[in-house]
Symmetry: C2
Subunit: 289 residues, 2 copies
């Protein structure tokens, strides 16, 4: 499928994409690009990439595809740096968790390559990071959302789709605005809430005591509070409008719950918990193996 691909950001997502395509026999050479030479050298030593490059003109020479897999806050500056060296055949895609900002950065910096620039978002858990966390089967059975541009060539969209499908993913398409609203609700807000809970508790005088009695409910609820702070900073800033709307909806829900607690209204609490529990169990039944 590809002779040469370039992956910018060789961590969990970029590294797993490289390993998955290699394992599927869909790529000959993977070139790694990134901010830290040390990380690139680790990825090279682990066989995640085949070459490392520090110069975009070298990296992109003859490249069939460029995957941008850095934290989303770097999208615009990386695109600006890479854009002059994109060859006409070089497909561009990304792994950003937000899409409206990627959309905007592409229009600003890659105007001459909009026909082959197809934004994508692989939905894969990322509480571990770095090239050593990369695994060839990370995307197997996971969803990838493409948010194609109106300017995209159909063949470019099809090839990016095939690349993710070669990694084992189920690909669907959505507008970038819909994408950002959906993921604000089911991903970005839960991350913000988990970070907030742990932050609030860890600042207390009796934090040690509290943490010593935390059990499996706390463990699972806060797992995502162990996520990569810079990555989540960028997601929250990039998607802050959709995220604020979700946070406000949630604050309304909490105000309602607060009123029920104040009144000691067990009947209404039980009804609400039952609706939530039924919905959660139906979701688990349908989507978890």
């Amino acid at each position: 499928m590809f002779d040469r691909i370039v992956v910018c950001g060789v961590g969990l997502i970029g590294g797993s994409f490289a390993l998955a395509l290699k394992q599927a026999g869909q790529v000959r050479t993977v070139v790694g690009v990134g901010r830290r030479r040390e990380t690139l050298e680790t990825a090279l030593a682990l066989g995640v990439i085949d070459e490392l490059a520090t110069d975009w003109s070298v990296a992109l020479k003859g490249a069939d595809l460029l995957l941008l897999a850095m934290p989303v806050g770097q999208m615009a500056s990386v695109m600006a740096a890479a854009a002059p060296y994109l060859e006409p055949q070089t497909l561009v895609t990304d792994a950003g968790s937000t899409k409206s900002d990627v959309f905007e950065a592409l229009y600003t910096h890659c105007g001459h390559r909009l026909n082959v620039a197809v934004p994508s978002h692989p939905i894969a858990g990322a509480e571990k990071s770095g090239p050593s966390a990369a695994q060839a089967d990370l995307f197997v059975g996971k969803r990838v959302v493409l948010t194609p541009l109106p300017e995209n060539q159909p063949e470019a969209v099809a090839r990016v789709r095939q690349a993710w499908e070669s990694c084992g993913a189920a690909v669907s398409e959505m507008s970038p605005q819909d994408h950002d609203r959906v993921f604000a609700a089911v991903s970005h807000l839960p991350h913000l809430l988990a970070f907030g809970l742990v932050h609030e508790l860890q600042g207390r005088g009796n934090a040690e005591q509290l943490f010593s009695f935390a059990a499996s409910g706390f463990r699972d609820f806060t797992r995502i509070a162990g996520s990569h702070p810079e990555m989540w900073r960028d997601i929250c800033v990039a998607n802050r409008h959709a995220l604020l709307a979700e946070l406000d909806a949630y604050l309304t829900e909490l105000a309602y719950l607060r009123a029920l607690l104040m009144q000691g209204d067990g009947k209404a609490l039980e009804r609400l918990f039952t609706e939530a529990s039924d919905a959660r169990n139906a979701w688990a039944e349908k989507y978890l193996k």
Copy 2:
């Protein structure tokens, strides 16, 4: 250790206590009591209990220990019903997730047995329920908190402690007020927040679309929203004062996060996420195997 114990509520917690003591060879006969005959018969068929009783006078005849393992909302009425038939040697304990209310119910209904009534709270995940979820090793390596009464005989406290230790648990002691504050923070609030998030999303017109893109972060964050609605109604009502204090502290945190999002303050967001992530990872390092 015990010839005959009575377990009221033969679900996950009560059933597991029975199985664990049997496996440890610490009890000869387990008598099950409960609201639903069908549940008791299931427990009998599964070997979780040895006898079922529908009459407290029969159940408590010659009993060494009574474990109250129903939802906490039933504590007072069950104590009132059982109290007249408690024999002088019958230890009383419970498995309630809240303690101030158990404390109060004991003073109200079991005034003549305060010397042998030792409240306890096993910290064991409970998103599954019923006797079929019971398992002999549920409490192995888990914590159990005792909140002894000033009136307790030291030997009664020691025997209740030994019973939980025979189940494999690590036992500690705390005042009921401290207990209720600690668990409002690390258990009751996370449950309320998870129920609230799923409830808020499931009522939307595009709930199906949202749920179809929910991934592992959502899965873990909302696992506890699948918990037993009645049990959590009772916990939230019984512990509503401590829970409201925790909810208000959390709402203050969310107001701060909201302000950071409004301002797009990536620097402060990253600092907060880093503190949370460091604390979560240190907790996992220390407490998770």
